[in-house]
């Protein structure tokens, strides 16, 4: 049986959702909702256009409209923190700082960094997903990355994750 064309994109949608939400259960729900919405709206998909970007667009809109995001991030961060407390490897501490810093970004900044840095969407695809002009994507990406860098270097913003 031929694979449904959506299927090859599921692992990437899932990776993005998990990185975005830090909660596998909600992430899988988000992916599932995305696929279901995609199936329903399939008649609106233009053959020959970018299916991957189209699916990410659906997911992004569901994410923006549906998920109680910030709370979840905070909860899941605590889980991460307690987890890595056992293992003091430098890499894990850095990863934890990174996750914390990522959490301190706005949802929009986090999404843009993940779509481009993790999912390696082109700037044009990201612009489509976020429904923004490419120029705006570029300036927002630059701002988000710089903010993340400053948070990681402790030059700016709260340093609560460095307390211990």
């Amino acid at each position: 049986m031929a694979q449904h064309p959506f299927n090859e994109h599921i692992p990437n949608l899932r990776r993005y959702a998990i990185a975005l939400l830090r909660d596998r259960s909600l992430a899988d729900d988000l992916v599932q909702d995305t696929l279901e919405r995609g199936l329903k709206k399939l008649s609106l998909f233009k053959v020959g256009s970018d299916l991957r970007a189209w699916l990410f667009t659906i997911m992004h809109n569901l994410f923006i409209n549906q998920i109680p995001r910030n709370k979840l991030w905070l909860q899941n961060l605590q889980a991460d923190e307690a987890h890595s407390g056992d293992e003091l490897a430098e890499e894990l501490v850095t990863a934890r700082d990174f996750m914390h810093a990522l959490q301190l970004l706005s949802d929009e900044q986090r999404a843009i960094i993940l779509l481009i840095g993790l999912e390696q969407l082109s700037y044009e695809q990201a612009a489509q997903v976020l429904e923004l002009p490419v120029g705006t994507v570029m300036s927002r990406l630059a701002r988000a990355r710089e903010r993340l860098r400053l948070l990681m270097s402790g030059e700016n913003g709260p340093q609560l994750w460095r307390v211990k």
Binding site: Q32, P68, M99
Partner: protein
């Protein structure tokens, strides 16, 4: 020799993401060689990308959850126990609306230390034949007083006899870091054991609604309320597990 052109913001981002032509890239390399601050930024951004892949690439190799595979297959979309279903079920069960605020989820695969501890404590002590509990149900008043004092919060042991579970007793356990936890054990007449694990919640963590997590093959139902976190382990039937959680929640909020 001409000075390399000052790259704009978009050029630097494209450099980070490896999306420039070799010529353009070389021009920016030249510029960065003379501008340590810009170089530091670019390196940090590249490191961000590296961290993201390090943290999340493994997801791509994971087997997909069945409910995701079945969405696009023509098979009946059955048995998917999801947010809406849980919500509806809980609403039917009459739990007040403030309990969940849209946060009910199920089958978390990510382990959290709290549920892990609850699952481990369950496995360790439900196997115990001689000393499953420290204080038995015959001294229930003492048990409640003792463990309430140690947790710093009044406890009300739920009566689960309507589900066929009799209280066996309880014990004190180490919690996270410096905290303590308690475990109450219940048993059916056929010897099936259920444990209720309670520990003091991290002050800053938000109140959560009922969640189910899979932990070492056990379904752990957990939630947090006020200063405590609760976990129920040992009931295999989800509907019953939810109902028991609901009853426990009510008993504890008395």
């Amino acid at each position: 020799m001409s000075q390399p052109q000052i790259p704009n913001e978009a050029d630097l981002q494209a450099y980070v993401d490896g999306r420039l032509s070799p010529t353009h890239r070389a021009q920016i390399d030249l510029y960065l060689a003379d501008h340590p601050e810009a170089l530091e930024q670019v390196r940090a951004y590249q490191e961000q990308n590296r961290m993201l892949h390090g943290l999340f690439d493994h997801v791509l190799d994971e087997p997909l959850p069945e409910e995701l595979i079945t969405v696009t297959s023509s098979k009946q979309r059955r048995g998917v126990f999801r947010v809406a279903a849980v919500l509806a079920w809980l609403l039917v069960g009459g739990v007040s609306g403030y309990l969940f605020r849209g946060e009910v989820t199920n089958t978390l695969v990510v382990s959290t230390p709290f549920t892990e501890r609850a699952a481990i404590a369950h496995v360790v002590y439900t196997k115990e034949m001689l000393h499953p509990v420290e204080v038995g149900a015959d001294q229930e008043a003492h048990l409640v007083q003792w463990l309430s004092k140690r947790l710093g919060h009044p406890l009300h042991i739920p009566d689960l006899t309507t589900f066929g579970y009799q209280l066996v007793g309880g014990r004190l356990l180490p919690g996270d870091n410096t905290g303590v936890a308690t475990q109450f054990m219940y048993q059916t007449t056929t010897g099936v054991r259920l444990t209720l694990y309670i520990s003091v919640k991290d002050e800053s963590s938000a109140q959560t609604a009922f969640r189910i997590e899979e932990q070492d093959g056990q379904q752990v139902m957990y939630w947090a309320e006020d200063t405590l976190s609760f976990a129920l382990v040992g009931e295999k039937d989800r509907q019953r597990l939810l109902a028991i959680a609901q009853l426990t929640y009510k008993a504890m909020s008395l």
